[in-house]
């Protein structure tokens, strides 16, 4: 097992434990067990537990952004781009329940507030697909003339809630229902 294998094992272990048990259920000792390494080893790769968790989130976030950019085409209509991105996102979460659960836990923790603040008020123009998309739609009067934050809430609120309920087994999101749900998200933001 080489160096990067071990790093990855630790990240996987943390992902799995936090996703399944929450932050409370993921002490360093458990992460080390799950990863098959000693507790000390974790500190060879990550300075603190916080840094491990932040790294995990950042890498997940990058993966998702990359997924969304894949096949994104600025020439298509706003509605079509939104539906495509949102469908891809919901499919990703349904296919990766551990990633989703971790993502959710993180965003609803104090870490998440900081992340959201940076994200919303950050300079970031180009890097955020949804921001560009919604701003363009609003300018063209295709989506409602609401503040960006409210549009985000209307778009992501239902998506994340439904993904969670699917993963917890409260509803079975088959392909049909998944597409219909994304359509309903659009209904919420469209003019």
């Amino acid at each position: 097992m080489n160096t990067s294998d071990k790093r990855q094992e630790i990240l996987n272990a943390a992902l799995e434990l936090i996703a399944e048990q929450g932050f409370h259920g993921a002490p360093i000792a458990s992460i080390a067990d799950q990863a098959g390494v000693g507790t000390g080893t974790i500190y060879r790769y990550f300075e603190t537990k916080d840094l491990l968790i932040n790294t995990l989130f950042q890498e997940l976030h990058d993966t998702i952004q990359a997924r969304l950019m894949d096949g994104y085409d600025t020439d298509r209509p706003v509605r079509e781009r939104f539906i495509r991105a949102h469908t891809a996102l919901l499919r990703f979460f349904v296919a990766h329940p551990l990633q989703f659960r971790f993502h959710e836990q993180y965003l609803h923790s104090p870490y998440g507030v900081i992340f959201r603040r940076d994200h919303i008020f950050g300079q970031g123009g180009d890097e955020d697909l949804y921001r560009m998309l919604l701003e363009e739609g609003r300018t063209r009067q295709i989506v409602k003339d609401f503040p960006l934050v409210v549009l985000f809430a209307l778009a992501f609120g239902p998506l994340l809630t439904v993904a969670r309920d699917h993963i917890l087994g409260f509803v079975n999101l088959d392909e049909t229902l998944l597409v219909q749900t994304v359509q309903a998200c659009w209904d919420g933001i469209k003019q």
Copy 2:
């Protein structure tokens, strides 16, 4: 200070600390300080910390349900009843940020999963206004023919997200925007 005062002080202290700092920021010692009682006293009123937290949530939930029932009139159209209830709910959260933040923390913790499960699969017919409302709307083909859980997600997802963003100061929900947001929630679920 009589018995019920002290109990209430403890509940208020827990509410405030958990709302502002999260569960991590609310150890028993801090709750006792904030409430102006000794740590031992807390255990005179609540068997365990879990029970204290669950009680707090239950009482908040009951308060909210009562608010929603107030002025509820089965004779009005489904759409109007939904808009009224949802507006009242969003107003309540905007006016009671501590209650909202606590509510949110609770629902996204392991406690919340249990609550949601019971709530969704519970027998409960009469006690849940939204369930009745959405089921009636679905039957009458006024709202989309989706599983109840998905309708809940479409209705509550945006509402809770927007309330959080308002409370965190990411957006200013004035009366106009508040009403428009509720309207947009309806757009998401209506047929």
